[in-house]
Amino acid sequence: MKVLVPVKRVVDYNVKVRVKSDGTGVDIANVKMSMNPFDEIAVEEAVRLKEKGVVTEIVAVSCGITQCQETLRAAMAIGADRAILVETSEELQPLAVAKLLKALVDKEQPQLVILGKQAIDDDCNQTGQMLAALAGLPQATFASKVELGGSAGEGHAHVTREVDGGLETLKVRLPAVITTDLRLNEPRYMTLPNIMKAKKKPMEVIKPSDLGVDVTPRIKTLKVSEPPKRGAGVKVPDVATLVAKLKNEAKVI
């Protein structure tokens, strides 16, 4: 079974971004970039399925600038077999990425697409669901457990999802799109031998036009600003003072 794993290059989750003074965006010059953490979980899950013998090939995909090759190399160091970069310097929004991925799903015919539930830069939480809709596939979002079953040609997945109030389990027919939540797994560390091996794995670079996809943005960012600052309050010396303040000053209890 072939699995497609889309990965996004984002500002590393440990970096606290700064809003540019001209309000056009956040400053990402000279900032550490990494694979979106949710996508890393997706790669790890695909690799675990391959280690179980359920999956035979893992294809990592990224859409964006040349440097996304680094993200794809990282995916291959975790265990993806080959990579495809859809290279463009245009701004890519979730709908455009979903269309690019849909074209690749048509071409590669994977039984499963597994990707992060959201990227930690734009926090959109859209791409997986959009891809599923465009490709006419069922979806199981926010997965905390994935089990593949059935037989070739009639496969299905049982997916436990993190929903408001607890967990729910869905059965989806394959091919399907699964998006990962935080607790699906803990990605392994990349080892040096695997990083070296990843450098030799095949990477195909194509353009959005090769897939016949128009990636023109549909949302215009007018301004990016700092969130309103919340000032620090006061330190109280003991519990009695705290209770008095909550009762008499804040009047919340």
Partner: protein
């Protein structure tokens, strides 16, 4: 121009998040209709008709709509979408699951987690875990929006008298099915709707201590219980208690953070709370930078003391 709110409900009643979404829909201008897609969802549709500001309720009822399966609910929304300029979903697990499918099939972009409606096509939304606020303009004719409930007041649940129109339910796509759920039954208020939240972090040390220390305080205050990601990852609290950018976004009147250091990702989920209390023994913990009242103390003595003095 009219807006359609896709209701979040359990067939018997409307969930609170729907009310905040109605407020956002009203801000978009034009009439506000509500779609209740479910199974045996008559009571939910009747409740939706009572919401102040709603002029029509569309009720689609079929077994395939019972558990909010994304494929079926999205198809149901698309069946009526042509009549609307705005389609709004609460930014809950259910809304986030369905909305992008609708947007993609309409070939329009989606605005996620809108916190403010500036005009019918311009919205504010947080990016980078709330470390920046983007003002965005949707260029497509139809706007598909998920609404961050903490950004909007709840519409009054009663006072309206909309007509309920029963519409044809779409066929079950059959590509996915609901097998079961483990939803915790609790007498506590729902986390995202609670007026007071007591939240614990990794400092609690174990699931037993988490419950032993925080439950009495939550009981006393009639509060919901929350947790930091660290506490959830460590298994001290269930995943649906997680407050933060990737968990629940909350804005109660009072948020008590006990033993939570205050990682950016946690602050993103609670910093819009009206009053924040932090109890932590580390005076340098980042949580104190957003707390209205900070108590530098060992939570294992301070929290029981707090329970006794309430």
């Amino acid at each position: 121009m009219a807006a359609l709110v896709i209701a979040e409900h359990d067939n018997a009643s409307i969930r609170g998040a729907t009310l905040n979404t109605v407020t956002a829909a009203i801000a978009c201008g034009g009439d506000v209709h509500v779609l209740v897609a479910g199974h045996n969802a008559g009571p939910a549709a009747a409740a939706a008709a009572q919401i102040a500001g709603v002029t029509k309720v569309l009720h689609a009822d079929a077994p395939g709509l019972d558990h909010g399966l994304a494929e079926n609910v999205a198809a149901q929304v698309l069946a009526v979408a042509a009549d609307y300029s705005h389609l709004l979903f609460p930014a809950t697990a259910a809304g986030k699951n369905v909305a992008p499918r609708v947007a993609a099939l309409l070939d329009v972009a989606q605005i996620s987690d809108a916190t403010k409606v500036l005009s019918p096509d311009t919205f504010e939304r947080p990016i980078y875990a709330g470390n920046a606020i983007a003002t965005v303009q949707a260029l497509d004719a139809v706007k598909v929006i998920t609404v961050r409930t903490t950004g909007f007041d709840a519409a009054a649940a009663t006072g309206g008298s909309a007509a309920v129109e029963v519409i044809a339910a779409v066929a079950d796509a059959g590509s996915s099915s609901f097998l079961g759920s483990e939803i915790a039954k609790s007498d506590r208020p729902e986390l995202t709707a609670a007026k007071i939240i007591v939240s614990g972090g990794r400092a609690l040390g174990s699931s037993d201590q988490f419950n032993a220390v925080l439950t009495p305080l939550a009981d006393k205050l009639g509060a919901a219980l929350g947790a930091s990601r660290a506490a959830v990852d460590a298994g001290y609290a269930p995943n649906d208690w997680q407050v933060g950018q990737t968990g629940k976004i909350v804005a109660p009147s009072l948020y008590i953070a006990a033993g939570i250091s205050g990682a950016i990702q946690h602050l993103a989920g609670m910093k819009d709370s009206k009053v924040i209390v932090a109890i932590n023994k580390d005076p340098e913990a980042p949580i104190f930078s957003v707390a209205d009242y900070g108590l530098v103390a060992d939570l294992f003595t301070a929290v029981p003391e707090l329970v006794d003095s309430l």
